[in-house]
């Protein structure tokens, strides 16, 4: 009835060459899948780096198995060198945050889900969307290249604090630092282009009937995340450019000798940093809300408060960055204000956790693999959120800052949070992407093993963090106050190796089901989302005619549904009237 004037060229089905259809495709679903495979590769790279870190912390000074293949600038007689260790730590953080979790959450699921869930053909700007992927891949290649340049990659942590990162003579890193900065600028551009695409699509291209409060929480979360991305990434680009100029042009932004300020980098980085960590968790929260509602066969508990909680988190996220810098020599009164805002931001997260539990309360719980992972997310994210409160209370942050306690908090929120949600999301929308179902038993085994090994790996980190083990130290055994807890380091390393091995179960399940997975029925999870009105895998251009939306996304076990316990948004009941699109704005401008 109403169409967008410039639907993509697939309108008249001229046969597109292999290259146009799969490599340089402008179809949001193909771009989502491209992001998926590239991000999973970088997730593997990040994991390999983590294993070397765990080897060094668990067995300092002992030759690492397989260490021989590394050049002698990194490993001598199999023993990891300190400069390579700080490179491992820096690159593990950089790859996981920028090239694994962020693209997996935003690159894959914003691209794949938004047009499908709001009932439109494609993104507002398909070509820009394609550019966003290729820029992200380019950024990843530049960052990977920094391993193979003289002096290797950066050595100043993924946070890249200034005087160390700005002075090659102090850090010993030359080309690697420049590549990091360039890669971050390119990634920033890719992320900004992607985010402006998602924002325009959600605002303008919603199907008739898909009002703001009929949008599923996953689309709300991805929409708010896109806003965070559009406003946060450019600040990091600016900071990275200043750092690049400090290294290359001899500028003095962060060089205290010539009047620059070392704290300036920390302020810029964390002003971006905190919205960034909410970019890393909000999409996970959104997708988990959808999956838990589906698994519980029950409408999400408190839809409106969940939406305002997401908006609350996003807004507060801009005024809390100082809690990363309580110890940095910043004025203590600033510490007090940032403490208050940080403590307040715990409230929306609490609201979300209780609402997820409210959804499961008196539900009819189906324990498919996505639901298991979603429950894993809720239980683990709770620990992550609560351990954040220890650092929000400034006096308690004094002994805990920059120790393994912070590392535990990061991994409980990022691994226990985003990665569990990603396992759920990947399994949940796998049929929509590839038309086949991932194996259910294998998925369950993977979940149980991951849940166990994950906790065995990261919970003890709280303990050694309380004991005072500092972050990013190459060999904890040279400190007498750390010797008594070295057995915990060894234990964590073994658990981490087991956790890494378990992930191959998921990888095998993922790749094997591509070809041999069970053929997926039309609506395998019996869900209400708009995407399930399309065949699996969804065709190019999605719907022939823009569908209508008749109700909210969470009408599970609705009385009108009769015997079935779900009521899809696109299903027209006899009592439903076709939605009339909003009147056009006057004058057309």
């Amino acid at each position: 009835m109403t169409t967008v004037a410039h639907t993509p060229t697939q309108a008249h089905h001229e046969p597109m060459s292999f290259w146009r259809k799969y490599i340089f495709s402008t179809d949001h679903k193909i771009i989502g899948i491209q992001f998926l495979f590239v991000s999973l590769f970088f997730l593997l790279v990040g994991g390999l780096l983590a294993m070397q870190i765990r080897w060094q912390l668990g067995f300092p000074g002992k030759p690492m198995p397989g260490g021989g293949i590394l050049p002698e600038t990194m490993v001598v007689n199999g023993v990891i060198l300190p400069e390579y260790y700080v490179q491992l730590v820096s690159m593990h953080g950089t790859f996981m945050v920028f090239f694994a979790i962020m693209p997996l959450l935003v690159g894959v699921y914003a691209n794949f889900l938004i047009p499908l869930k709001i009932g439109t053909h494609d993104m507002a700007f398909p070509r820009i969307n394609m550019a966003s992927f290729w820029l992200a891949l380019l950024a990843g290649l530049i960052m990977t290249a920094s391993f193979f340049v003289p002096n290797g990659p950066i050595r100043s942590g993924w946070t890249n604090y200034a005087p160390l990162a700005a002075r090659p003579d102090l850090s010993g890193v030359t080309v690697g630092q420049m590549l990091w900065c360039v890669s971050i600028v390119v990634l920033g551009l890719s992320s900004v282009l992607g985010s402006l695409n998602y924002i325009t699509t959600v605002i303008n291209l919603r199907a008739p009937g898909m009002t703001w409060f009929r949008m599923p929480l996953s689309v709300w979360a991805l929409f708010i995340t896109a806003i965070l991305g559009v406003l946060a990434l450019p600040v990091l680009q600016g900071a990275a450019i200043m750092l690049l100029f400090d290294n290359v042009l001899g500028t003095h932004f962060f060089d205290p000798v010539a009047g620059g300020q070392a704290l300036l980098w920390q302020h810029l980085f964390w002003f971006f940093g905190h919205p960034e960590v909410y970019i890393l968790i909000l999409p996970a929260m959104g997708m988990v809300s959808d999956i838990i509602a589906n698994g519980s066969r029950k409408p999400i508990f408190g839809y409106h408060s969940m939406v305002f909680a997401i908006i609350g988190i996003a807004f507060l996220g801009w005024i809390v960055w100082g809690h990363h810098m309580f110890m940095s020599g910043m004025n203590p009164t600033l510490g007090s204000t940032f403490m208050v805002s940080t403590l307040l931001i715990a409230v929306p997260s609490a609201i979300k956790v209780f609402n997820w539990m409210g959804t499961m309360w008196r539900g009819n719980l189906r324990f498919h693999v996505p639901m298991l992972n979603a429950i894993g997310f809720v239980s683990m994210f709770t620990i992550g959120g609560l351990s954040g409160i220890f650092m929000a209370a400034t006096p308690v942050d004094i002994p805990l800052h920059d120790t393994q306690f912070i590392v535990a908090h990061i991994h409980y929120v990022l691994f226990g949070g985003s990665l569990f949600a990603l396992f759920a999301a990947m399994t949940y929308w796998y049929p929509k992407m590839f038309g086949r179902l991932m194996s259910e038993p294998l998925g369950k085994i993977h979940f149980v093993l991951t849940f166990i090994f994950y906790n065995l790996t990261f919970f003890p980190m709280h303990i050694i963090g309380m004991g005072g083990q500092m972050r990013r130290i190459y060999d904890p055994t040279i400190y007498t106050f750390l010797k008594p807890q070295q057995p915990l380091n060894v234990f964590i390393s073994y658990a981490a190796f087991a956790l890494f091995a378990t992930q191959f179960l998921f990888a095998f399940n993922f790749l094997w089901s591509l070809k041999f997975g069970k053929k997926a029925p039309q609506n395998p999870w019996e869900d209400n989302g708009m995407e399930w009105s399309l065949p699996n895998p969804a065709p190019h251009g999605n719907w022939e005619k823009t569908p209508n939306v008749y109700r909210g996304p969470y009408e599970f076990s609705a009385p009108e549904a009769g015997d079935k316990d779900y009521l899809p948004q696109y299903l027209k009941l006899p009592t439903d009237r076709d939605p009339v699109p909003a009147p056009l704005p006057a004058g057309g401008h």
């Binding site: 639907t7 199907a207 559009v230 932004f253 699109p581 704005p585």
Partner: protein, 239 residues
């Protein structure tokens, strides 16, 4: 796939309820400009923090930088904004594409082709003046890392450290070149995109009063870049 009926591209697609009421290209450009505002906030914010936290006295306005020439240059950029508005008005109000005689009016009422060309020329002029300014400054010894030893400026700074802000010349150079450099980069991108639009859309007269989105979007970008320059000119050159 249903054949797309050509509706007025300028209207936003029918959102389920009154959304922003802005067609997608313009909304996309507004969001991009928001991200660019954050980018310049990072640079200008750092400039302010560095300047107020600077240990020594900042260089006096006009000591190193050529304020009159840049003032003229700023005027040139403002004119290019005015000509951009004229170009937009020319196509939005259905005026002819090129110059047409208007009885009794001295300057014909120019169309899109004329005014967009004026904008491009002014923009390119601005960038080239800035480039010449850069070359002259570097020649005098003003580099991103401060005053080059043994250069003309270095001697001046020795002679009168207060006026030339000798103590914080490093910061002065760094902030000046980064901010104005990236602004210049944005202006260059604007000029290139206008040239691209000029040859692929304006000359073949693809725009019409029903659909002139490209002009409006590039106009938005141009006014943004002009606004940023006005801020930059004030805080870098004038104070």
């Amino acid at each position: 796939m249903q054949t797309p009926t050509v509706t007025d591209a300028m209207r936003p697609p029918y959102p389920a309820e009154p959304g922003a009421g802005v067609y997608s290209n313009k909304l996309g450009m507004w969001v991009f400009l928001a991200s660019d505002v954050m980018f310049f906030t990072a640079l200008i914010g750092s400039y302010i923090v560095l300047r107020f936290g600077a240990p020594g006295e900042w260089a006096k306005p006009g000591a190193v930088l050529n304020v009159p020439l840049t003032g003229l240059n700023t005027f040139l950029l403002i004119c290019s904004s005015v000509s951009m508005v004229k170009a937009y008005a020319a196509i939005a109000d259905g005026k002819k594409y090129f110059l047409r005689k208007v009885p009794g009016k001295m300057l014909q009422d120019g169309g899109l082709k004329f005014w967009l060309l004026v904008t491009i020329i002014c923009g390119a002029g601005f960038v080239s003046v800035q480039l010449v300014e850069y070359i002259k400054l570097v020649g005098h010894g003003f580099t991103p890392s401060g005053y080059r030893e043994g250069s003309l400026l270095a001697e001046h700074a020795l002679a009168d450290p207060l006026k030339y802000g000798a103590g914080v010349a490093g910061l002065y150079g760094s902030t000046f070149f980064t901010m104005t450099g990236f602004h210049g980069f944005h202006v260059t991108c604007g000029v290139i995109s206008m040239l691209y639009l000029y040859f692929t859309k304006v000359l073949p007269e693809k725009y019409s009063p029903q659909d002139y989105r490209g002009i409006e979007v590039i106009g938005l970008y141009w006014h943004f870049v002009d606004l940023v320059w006005i801020i930059l000119f004030t805080i870098v050159y004038l104070i």
